[in-house]
């Protein structure tokens, strides 16, 4: 019986992985399609749709917009998240537990709700929708994530090193620049890359808060309205490639830190 289960286990695992990765695999596969439709039979491989994507000015502009929003909003999100985590971990603040909960709670709120809320707020304030509003939206989404990651890394080990630095004569800025931030650098970089990937392929908030300048997911969505074609596959594959790269980098930093901790 257990021998049978042992033999079935890899099969089960293969099934699960297929379930998760088949859609992405199909998308990437048909981005190399030779014909006009992303359906069987596959008659590639061909790079012509990638050429089309890169020749499409709107798409390329959307890609640059996306990169711009991702880089900028993630930087702001990491700085805000770090400062919140540092303040909460190092100083005795009133209603500490509640403040922590309030800072992480947005992680559980639907993007649609956050997007709609921001849309109404910007309308009330008369702020025109633009890349800036999308960026603000992405800061709202990602700052809680950065906070949660960085707060979890500010343990006793870090607190003791900071205490030692103060004892040796470090002022607040020296402490921050020479000890706190460098010690957390892997986590800071990891949370930056993670929030970049979330911003890079975020659709709902970007859709609600954009007008003339759009980000890549919004542009792809409008392409889809004219029907499926391998060009959207190629654009989607590029999105996926960049996300994957960032996630792998983030993993590397977190992983490197974990092994160093293990030895320390």
């Amino acid at each position: 019986m257990s021998a049978l289960l042992n033999r079935l286990a890899p099969l089960y695992a293969a099934f699960i992985y297929a379930f998760i990765y088949l859609p992405v695999g199909v998308l990437v596969l048909f981005s190399f399609q030779g014909g006009r439709f992303p359906i069987l039979p596959f008659n590639g491989p061909s790079l012509k749709w990638y050429r089309e994507v890169l020749a499409d000015e709107d798409l390329v502009e959307a890609m640059i917009n996306s990169l711009f929003v991702a880089v900028g909003s993630s930087a702001v999100a990491v700085i805000l998240g770090f400062l919140a985590a540092y303040g909460l971990a190092r100083y005795l603040l009133p209603a500490r537990g509640l403040q922590r909960a309030l800072l992480t709670a947005p992680l559980t709120v639907s993007y649609l709700v956050i997007g709609l809320g921001l849309l109404m707020l910007f309308n009330q304030l008369g702020v025109p929708r633009s890349l800036l509003t999308i960026g603000i939206g992405h800061v709202v989404l990602n700052a809680p994530l950065c906070f949660a990651i960085l707060y979890s890394q500010m343990g006793d080990h870090q607190a003791n090193a900071e205490r030692a630095a103060r004892d040796l004569g470090a002022g607040e800025w020296q402490l921050l620049c020479l000890v706190s931030v460098p010690m957390l650098a892997p986590s800071i970089l990891a949370s930056y890359l993670l929030s970049m990937t979330f911003s890079w392929d975020e659709f709902i908030v970007a859709f609600l808060l954009s007008r003339f300048d759009v980000t890549l997911p919004v542009e792809i969505f409008s392409m889809l309205r004219s029907g499926l074609n391998p060009k959207t596959n190629a654009a989607g594959s590029l999105v996926f490639l960049l996300t994957l790269g960032a996630v792998i980098l983030a993993e590397l930093f977190i992983f490197r830190r974990a092994t160093r901790r293990g030895r320390a």
Binding site: A161, A164, A170, Q174, P182
Partner: protein
């Protein structure tokens, strides 16, 4: 550099818990002092107050007579060597050690020169460019010491720094700490709960219990003439027999005890004068019980039964019972061949007995 430490009626409360009560203490410049006591006795709190990490609820801390009670750790002429070393993991050893000088405006050359000098002092020459995670526990310990000494503090505070090391390494580090302290001449204040460690390194030991100083003095004075029953029991092994003072005159105490009626010199009351009618503890060390065939003069003879025993290398540690009510520990000579249940005639060295008041 070095400084005299003054602690003047320092009290500290955490909420309603009194962690320290009216501590008065003075540690001379250049001494190696050890704060010794069980966990929760307030020794670490006192160290934090000396380092400036806590401001005491009451009282003053002075360095060479200057009040530093409210001075920040960064400004104070003390540095602390922390229990978990608290090295900066992202910096090389040279940068770790150079951190304090850097905060004081030393340039790169000066910092590296200082780091080399300090690494040599702690026996890690040539390891400037290593990172802390490449070191063993004992080596990290040395780096922490080097980093704390690199700023030439007047006072170095050591918070149970040897707790995490295994026994052999701890012994070795104790010797090195003492040697380094002699060389740099800085006043060291070291916290531990290990009385052997205290004896191994201290010029002066401060025995603490429940937020109070029980006895501060040289290891010899605390061991041979303790001021309290707690100090007697915490510094090495002590036998305590409870008794009552029945009378006193100019230079002797008459005591009624389970050991019989005793007349002891007034100097046996090392914890301060005792009065007639007072409950006292008579303390004597296991090595002050002799079992020689011819008992030395001035010893108190007793007929005892050997309850059990164990061999400790330098001696046999034996539990002796007298009249089924009185029990105490004696050290029998290495060459003895004790047998459980046998009857032994012993003598307690009368001059070694101290008379200490029983706390109310």
């Amino acid at each position: 550099m070095t400084a005299r430490i003054g602690i003047e009626s320092v009290s500290h409360r955490f909420g309603t818990f009194a962690a320290l009560e009216h501590i008065d203490l003075s540690i001379e410049a250049g001494r190696f002092a050890v704060l010794l006591g069980p966990s929760g006795c307030g020794k670490t709190t006192l160290l934090s107050i000396l380092g400036g990490f806590l401001v005491p609820s009451e009282g003053r801390v002075t360095l060479d007579g200057v009040d530093v009670t409210r001075q920040q750790p960064a400004k104070r002429a003390t540095t602390t060597m922390f229990q978990d070393y608290a090295l900066f993991p992202h910096m090389t050893l040279a940068d770790n050690i150079g951190f304090g000088p850097r905060m004081r405006g030393a340039d790169r050359m000066e910092r590296h020169r200082r780091a080399d000098e300090m690494l040599t002092l702690v026996g890690l020459e040539g390891m400037q460019s290593r990172k802390p995670h490449e070191l063993s526990g004992g080596q990290r310990q040395r780096v922490a010491l080097a980093r704390a000494l690199a700023v030439e503090p007047d006072v170095l505070l050591l918070d149970e720094p040897l707790g995490a090391l295994d026994l052999n390494l701890r012994r070795q580090m104790q010797d090195e700490l003492k040697a380094i302290q002699r060389r740099v001449g800085t006043t060291f204040v070291h916290v531990t709960h290990d009385q052997e460690e205290a004896m191994a390194i201290a010029d002066e030991i401060v025995v603490m219990n429940a937020g109070k100083v029980e006895h501060a003095g040289s290891p010899e004075s605390i061991y041979l003439a303790p001021k309290t029953l707690f100090a007697a029991g915490f510094m090495g092994e002590a036998n305590t027999v409870f008794a009552t003072v029945v009378g006193r005159d100019a230079d002797t105490l008459q005591i009624d005890s389970p050991l019989g009626a005793l007349s002891l010199p007034m100097s046996a009351a090392t914890g301060g004068a005792v009065s007639a009618g007072q409950r006292v503890g008579l303390c004597f060390r296991p090595e002050h019980v002799s079992v020689n065939v011819s008992l030395p003069a001035n010893s108190l003879p007793l007929r005892t039964r050997l309850a059990d025993h164990a061999f400790f290398g330098t001696h046999h540690r034996a539990r002796l019972v007298c009249d089924d009510t009185l029990e105490f520990i004696a050290h029998l000579p290495q060459e003895a061949t004790p047998v459980s249940g046998e009857t032994i005639n012993v003598g307690i060295l009368r001059s070694a007995i101290v008379v200490l008041p029983v706390p109310a």
